[in-house]
Symmetry: C2
Subunit: 332 residues, 2 copies
């Protein structure tokens, strides 16, 4: 399988270098696969950090900047960052008001963020952690106890980042992050497997006319393999699973995300969004905002995920607040 | 080949519907595959429009909005919009100061925009046309006399849109568009073929260990097929071809774009950008800004293109001016 890379073991390092070259607003910590906001730590502001295995770009470093993350740690492809790496990031992003770690629910990530919080705590940092587990497909999975953290994480970044930028304290920032986590659900599908640089061939086998529903972002198994279906039927299946999990009252205001898995053209994501919005109407949900694009990818996997998040006035205000990052800009 | 679509003949129609659903700032013309800015025409402003075959998303409709395009016409996949379609768009975007059509150099596009300009002219619109031909790979090609128009087109949208937003008249707006066209070069590579919805299989055959340099955005042949190479060598080949064509003086200020072809993960584009910036240094070029992302795609093709554009103070000011579109936001 062909990729635009040099040596597989250099992909993350070279990607991060190419990224800080492209964006003056980002700085890479010396000798560490961590990206921070230029100017971090911001004194008097709660620091917001995240991180995880690479291969999900623009997650997480693409969301570093004003109004979102102060720091993002990049593990090797589909591999958790180390506790040392995370601890250095936390301390680098602590402007005296503490640091919130936004963690996707994978065992390695949770364990290493826990250790990093202890290490940074010993150095005097006040650290809180929220764990995102929005994937409604499966309880427990390869790499995960409980539900996996996937695309809903980006909404947590946005809301926590905005609350911190507005002067919220650590408890308040963690509170709005938890509110999003309590109200968001996601389910994904794969049309093709991702291919890791290391292995150079598909992580899992999928027939020419077969797709997998409920797929994870590392190619972990989903809920079922089915014959390939038209986009509308796929959208129905994913959306119904999310809505069944969220069990929203009629008239609830929501944000929807159609997220590309990395190898799917934008045109197809809009085709999915068209059907998704019909379903929101059918369910009498009040769509306040719609996102369509690549937010939480799985290397070159073809497919998409659908996220629905119920929002109240506080969350809407935080989602509308200005943000300036490589992958998401919200104007004043 | 699996895609997230319904019937192949409905892809463009459904994509456009999903797009206007997602973006309140866009409006679709009734019964026409044309997207315009909500509020178009803007009275007293030169209208800027573009269009071409679909399959290159976010081009062009993703660049409709404040500071860029007033309208974008979507043909069927890799097929020019009709003259009727274009003429309706031009008239819908004419706020009394005339309309500039930004056309990629493909025979069908040029012919149909010519006819549309005549038709709109008979209805009283003042219409000018610029033709973008930034692909340095080949003179003449399938669908094209002369060089093809590719990713450099996005810079033309940005600069012309900013000049129009600043109150430039039709001649001035066309002038800055031509200045970009005179100073921009692009070359692309394919690691895999695109797959059109209609055909459902690769447009061209490429061996497992083979890539094509100088590829067009519809899978038209490039300059040569070579063995797959590391990203740095591919970047060298593309960049050297562009720089040889542009023949820039040492110290020239430039904007660079690493553009994904649709199926390539963002991580790989940053790996390419890292090497591209080393080459800019080697050539003593002064990089004023760097863009990395999917701007001018070719459906699900894996690969990238590299664009270099020399900029002066006027062009820099226009590139920095605010823009608010689905695919590009520049904050105040």
């Amino acid at each position: 399988m062909k990729k635009l890379i040099n040596e597989p073991e250099d992909v993350v390092d070279e990607m991060l270098d190419g990224m800080v070259e492209a964006h003056d607003s980002l700085r890479r910590l010396d000798g560490n696969e961590v990206i921070v906001r230029d100017g971090a730590p911001i004194n008097g502001k709660v620091g917001i950090v995240s991180g995880g295995g690479s291969g999900h770009e623009p997650t997480h470093a693409g969301f570093v900047g004003h109004g979102m993350l102060d720091g993002a740690a990049a593990g090797e492809i589909f591999t958790s960052p180390t506790a040392d790496q995370l601890s250095e990031m936390v301390q680098e992003c602590d402007g005296g008001e503490g640091v919130l770690c936004v963690v996707k629910n994978y065992e390695g990530d949770v364990m290493n963020f826990d250790t990093a919080a202890d290490m940074a705590g010993m150095e005097g940092a006040d650290v809180e952690q929220v764990v995102v587990n929005d994937d409604v497909a499966v309880e427990d999975s390869l790499y995960t106890s409980g539900r996996r953290g996937v695309c809903g994480t980006i909404l947590v970044h946005k809301v926590a980042g905005a609350k911190a930028a507005a002067g919220g304290d650590l408890e308040e920032v963690a509170g709005v992050a938890e509110k999003v986590i309590d109200n968001v659900g996601t389910m994904g599908t794969a049309l093709t497997s991702c291919v890791t640089p290391e292995k150079g061939e598909p992580t899992f086998d999928l027939g020419e006319e077969e797709i997998e529903l409920g797929i994870g972002i590392h190619g972990e198994p989903g809920t079922e393999r089915v014959d390939h279906m038209p986009a509308d039927e796929i959208t129905d299946r994913l959306t119904e699973a999310v809505l069944e999990d969220l069990d929203l009252d009629s008239g609830t205001e929501v944000v929807t995300i159609v997220n590309g898995m990395g190898g799917t053209p934008l045109s197809e994501l809009y085709v999915v969004n068209r059907r998704l919005q019909e379903l929101m109407d059918d369910h009498d949900l009040d769509v306040w905002d719609q996102w369509v694009g690549d937010y939480m990818t799985s290397l070159d996997m073809m497919g998409c995920s659908i996220t629905v998040c119920a929002v109240d006035d506080e969350i809407k205000e935080l989602l509308s607040a200005p943000a300036e990052t490589p992958a998401l800009t919200v104007s004043e």
